[in-house]
Amino acid sequence: MLMTEDQQKVRPPTPVVIPRTEVPQKKVSGPPGSSTPAISVRDLSVYFGANQVLKRVNLDVPAQAVTAIIGPSGCGKSTFLRAINRMHDLVPSARIEGRIQLFGEDIHGDHLEPVQVRRRVGMVFQKSNPFPTMSIADNVTVGLRLNGLRKNSVLAERMEQALVMAALWDEVKDRLSSPAVSLSGGQQQRLCIARALAVQPEVLLMDEPASALDPLATARIEDLILELKRDYTIIIVTHNMQQAARISDDTAFFYLGELIEFGTTSKLFTSPSKKQTEDYVTGRFG
């Protein structure tokens, strides 16, 4: 029942784009900070009906790094995340102002369909949701298969790659055809990560991926994220500040729909420049 919003003119059907088979190599030329940011947000405001949930957010998310989004409940973290892969297109009352760029390309521009944006920007959800009617293998490859990739050899290769990257391969390699729901909670979440990685996105969005998991499983996910950042840009929403401190390079603090502060994690947590940030990270509220 999630819909797509018609804000553009009718255009001829776009051919299905099969993502490239190698892991993308991002060239970081020049001193750090001068490369194209993975996600560039300018004056982003999001409204649901009359309710303004995000207020003129400006942010540059660096490539091949982990950026954490923190803030108290209702501050707009998830809304911000979902704006990046155009999930709000599916909500009838949502309205977006401002500009979001994916490696320099406007994601709302005429060249990019929402479907294409979502193939380049993957998402992992809070509650793991492997498709219940499919096996582990089918779950991993579903993004590829339903976008037209049929060659079994390629599918098998990409599946193994994805499961290895998600640190799940060893645990499931002997039972790839068993139902996905037979895995434990932590394993299911890693399966969902593998599923997202199989499509070879450039950016990976994670909405509180470990909040429903026990500490052991959480630790594994965190280790995984640290591994993944070598090749992917990761934006992770978390309500767990310690987690943000552990795994992220940069952190953005949101409050009541506004981006209050954005900077390197170590600096934000030890000597934040805004008082609100300091109050939040020291636990005075939230």
Binding site: M1, L2, V115, R118, F125, N129, F131
Partner: protein, 283 residues
């Protein structure tokens, strides 16, 4: 005084338990009686001839209901061609697309249609198909049964699709899968068992319908060879035999009833058994 009051309350409590239990038994009794009598009176006439022979001419004993049994299946097939695609696709629309107002309207309309007595459907298709063609036909019978199936399947499909958690839709869309593929290959696939259940139950329901066939399919004492000819159907045959004055026909009516009842009962029971693990009821 306290003790008396308490005793009285206890007695009433016990009495009400007994009464409600008895009432429940009374609800069960007609079913048991019907099954018993159908079995008793019908089993003797179930033989090879019954399943393979055509009805004998009026007054002669013997013969069977082969054409009625085949006819029912034929009508069910025709009805499915109409009812299943329209019903399922309509159910998909109600669950996955649309606006509040429009969907409420469609839902309300489907509920209204589901409450229309089946004989009215018969009259409608009579006027729509039989009159213009100047003939009773299997086609008309299939159409009327199909029309009855449409709102039935639409609502059950919608209900089942709504139960699919939104997380699956989101996950699929976040992978960049097109919406129509998401609906068909993820959502519908997850709900497939329930959708099939709804279709089977609708089939069992229209298999037993007599009234709408009275003036559409009409019935046929011989084999049906063309869609535009009348066709025999089991419930029709049972009805015609039951109200006839011939003993032998009464006997065959019971046999036909046994076959129909078994068919309907088996479909219903197996469908409920297959879905029972999904919907464990606690009270």
């Amino acid at each position: 005084m306290q003790n008396n009051c308490h005793l009285r309350r206890k007695l009433i409590n016990g009495l009400m338990q007994v009464i409600t239990c008895l009432c429940s038994l009374m609800v069960v009794v007609p079913l048991c009686l019907v099954f018993y009598h159908v079995l008793k009176s019908g089993i003797g006439s179930i033989n090879w001839a019954f399943f393979t022979q055509l009805p004998k001419p009026v007054g002669e004993t013997g013969g069977g209901m082969a054409n009625a049994i085949v006819g029912t299946f034929e009508l069910l097939g025709l009805a499915s061609l109409i009812g299943v695609p329209i019903g399922i696709l309509g159910g998909i629309f109600l669950s996955e697309y649309g606006s509040i107002r429009l969907n409420w309207g469609i839902r309300f309309g489907a509920d209204v249609l589901n409450g229309v007595p089946s004989i009215i459907w018969g009259m409608v298709v009579y006027a729509l198909v039989v009159l213009p063609q100047h003939r009773f036909s299997a086609l008309a019978g299939g159409i009327v049964l199909g029309m009855i199936m449409i709102p039935l399947i639409m609502r059950t499909t919608e209900e089942v699709l709504r139960l699919v958690p939104n997380g699956y839709r989101e996950a699929a869309l976040a992978l960049g899968i097109a919406q129509w593929r998401t609906i068909l290959q993820i959502v519908v696939r997850t709900a497939l068992k329930g959708i099939v259940t709804g279709v089977l139950l609708a089939l069992a329901r229209v298999a037993g319908e007599t009234a709408p066939l009275l003036f559409t399919a009409l019935g046929n004492r011989y084999w049906n060879h063309h869609l535009s000819d009348p066709i025999a159907a089991l419930p029709l045959q049972i009805f015609n035999y039951a109200i006839s004055p011939y003993e032998d026909w009464h006997r065959q009516a019971w046999a036909g009833a046994l076959v129909l009842l078994l068919f309907v009962a088996i479909v219903n029971v197996s469908v409920r058994v297959l879905t029972r693990d999904k919907f464990a009821q606690t009270r």
